[in-house]
């Protein structure tokens, strides 16, 4: 066999041709083992965490918990105010973030001609998405609570989260806009429609699924957020009317913040786990719906 290759064949190569060496097999086996281990660990972690939280929390998710307010007098614990506050914050934050986010994406994709400006806006968006929530919390406190005089309030918290979710909405909308074929645009423009008319009648409707995905992901982010709300929306547990929720000065804890308070400050772990269960369920629903929509988008 030596003459086949002609050169002075390395012994190692010749032996290798007899079969895969034990050392090589061991290496491959080790790599495979590590892979299986890593995948198993990840799955076990998830199953363990979720399983444990459900195990501890589900028995305490009661109608009374969901439908009442906490009272020190009767020793009752209820999270209705927190559920409402979470809803308020979602709605208010989206009312601000949605038009700005979609508008930014439309500007970047449909209007902008100045490449430098596009790059600066994209850089700003990326920067926003990299800022940790505790910094948002502080900035929100400085800007909305203090400088704009809103006090610790649902409104201030919601505005803070509006800024935080902005990059999500911009990104998903932009991605959706990119999938709208240029022929649609050309078709509309060829009919003599103005750019705005084209955007309104052709581009935005085709990008609707992407925008909805952005909304869902934003809701997920808002529901899970806590650090940005501690010092902006505050920790109060009273029921607020919708009107009060948009009036400066009315503080309120969301589900996450109340979980933190019950666990860390008051040691009420049963309540904390019950809230965790609710948060997990919301998270699942959001994850699944975002995924289903994403699949629809790809079609």
């Amino acid at each position: 066999m030596m003459d086949i290759s002609g050169t002075n064949t390395s012994d190692a190569i010749l032996t290798a041709k007899a079969g895969i060496s034990a050392k090589r097999k061991a290496k491959i086996g080790a790599l495979k083992g590590l892979m299986y281990f890593a995948a198993a660990l990840t799955t076990v972690l998830l199953v363990g965490i979720i399983g444990y939280i459900f195990f501890r929390g589900v028995p305490h998710v009661t109608w009374n918990l969901l439908s009442t307010t906490p009272s020190l007098l009767t020793d009752n614990i209820g999270i209705l105010p927190n559920i409402l506050n979470t809803l308020y914050i979602i709605i208010i934050a989206l009312v601000f973030a949605l038009p700005i986010g979609v508008g930014t994406a439309v500007y970047l994709n449909e209007y902008a001609t100045n490449k430098k400006l596009v790059r600066v806006i994209e850089l700003a968006t990326e920067t926003l998405s990299g800022i940790p929530s505790i910094i948002y919390g502080l900035a929100g406190m400085l800007i909305f609570v203090q400088a704009m005089n809103m006090g610790t309030s649902i409104l201030a918290g919601a505005l803070t989260l509006a800024v935080m979710t902005l990059p999500i909405i911009i990104r998903t909308t932009q991605e959706a806009l990119k999938t709208v074929p240029d022929s649609y645009r050309e078709g509309a423009l060829a009919l003599g429609a103005g750019r705005w008319h084209m955007v309104r009648t052709v581009v935005l409707p085709s990008a609707m699924d992407g925008i909805v995905t952005g909304i869902i992901l934003s809701i997920g982010r808002i529901v899970g957020e806590s650090a940005a709300l501690l010092y902006t929306a505050g920790m109060a547990n009273e029921i607020l009317t919708p009107l009060k929720s948009i009036t400066p000065g009315n503080a309120g804890a969301t589900l996450t913040v109340s979980l933190y308070m019950y666990a860390k400050e008051r040691g009420q772990f049963d309540v904390a786990f019950a809230i965790a269960v609710i948060l997990l369920i919301i998270t699942f629903v959001i994850n699944i719906s975002a995924k289903l929509l994403g699949k629809k988008l790809k079609k």
Binding site: A38, L45, V199, G224, E225, L280
Partner: protein, 299 residues
């Protein structure tokens, strides 16, 4: 005749002005992101700089003692900086290898349904709110660490690092997996044709080919770990010690959060300075990330 022409002209004029109005509106929306970044930076700088100048830059950054409420207060944040660095590195030490192996498994080895299931698990892990991780850490990890190492208290740097490792894992897995999937099939064929087994191919060709994406995932994970506040606050013990593996510690994030509610005067200003330092770290990470991703695009 003249009448219809003027009518058309005025309609055109009207259309044009509507166009311009919307163009301006979208431009304004686009500027919001830039404005927010500038606002956040300015407010953090204005609030953060005074304390640093009062305390002295070196004393502040490299002072090893933080006693903000003592009779003779001392504001050194080296303990927080080091804790954040150690905690982040420790978390990455575990989650980077586990994450990469898991990503390789998902992208290259796992049979369809298994990959789909594990991927689902990873997405859910990424979506779980940080307070839920914190709660899990408080109830499971902290007591286990206490028992396992026979400590008086399990709320310490080690527990926080474990929680961070779990939280960072999903972002490393999903980013790396995306990068691995993008590796051209031709590379793998080339390696197989040389006699390498599939496992060897995946680790020696695919993984190196995906290195910039994998690196991106690590940087993203770093950002997430350094910015995490709530989960860490629930498990790290929150005493301003110089870091030790089983010492109760404060991270940069938790240093800000834990004193904010009752702070005043120089102490409050110093908290903003800590936030400024954290913000600076995050911006640095973003810059590195941007460099990396733009390099990836050139290829």
């Amino acid at each position: 005749m003249d009448g219809t022409v003027t009518l058309q002209k005025s309609r055109l004029k009207k259309q044009k002005s509507v166009e311009n109005i919307f163009k301006t509106i979208f431009l304004i929306f686009g500027m919001f992101s830039i404005a927010f970044v500038i606002f956040i930076s300015i407010f953090l700088i204005i609030s953060g700089v005074p304390a640093i100048t009062k305390i002295g830059f070196f004393k502040f950054m490299f002072g090893t003692k933080w006693a903000s409420t003592a009779a003779k207060p001392s504001f050194g944040i080296l303990p927080f900086i080091l804790t954040s660095v150690y905690g982040t590195c420790g978390a990455l030490l575990v989650s980077v290898p586990v994450g990469i192996f898991c990503a390789v498994y998902l992208a290259k080895m796992a049979p369809g349904p298994v990959a789909a299931a594990v991927r689902e698990a990873v997405d859910l892990l990424a979506a779980i709110p940080s307070v839920v991780y914190g709660l899990f850490g408080m109830i499971i990890i902290v007591p286990s660490v206490r028992k396992l190492f026979n400590l008086p208290d399990g709320a310490n740097l080690f527990s926080a690092t474990v929680v961070l490792a779990i939280m960072v894992l999903p972002s490393i897995i999903s980013e790396s997996e995306t990068a691995l999937r993008a590796v051209p099939k031709e590379y793998e064929e080339g390696s197989l044709a040389l006699g390498a087994t599939y496992t060897e191919t995946v680790f020696k060709v695919s993984l190196p080919a995906a290195r910039s994406g994998v690196l991106t995932s690590v940087i993203l994970g770093t950002g997430r770990a350094i910015g995490e506040a709530m989960a860490v606050m629930m498990v790290a013990g929150n005493v301003a010690n110089m870091p030790g593996i089983f010492k109760s510690v404060r991270f940069l994030t938790t240093a800000v959060a834990s004193e904010m509610s009752y702070s005043s005067g120089l102490q409050r200003q110093a908290l903003f300075s800590i936030a400024l330092v954290l913000f600076f770290f995050i911006i640095m990470i973003n810059v590195v990330l941007r460099k990396l991703t733009s390099k990836g695009e050139v290829k």
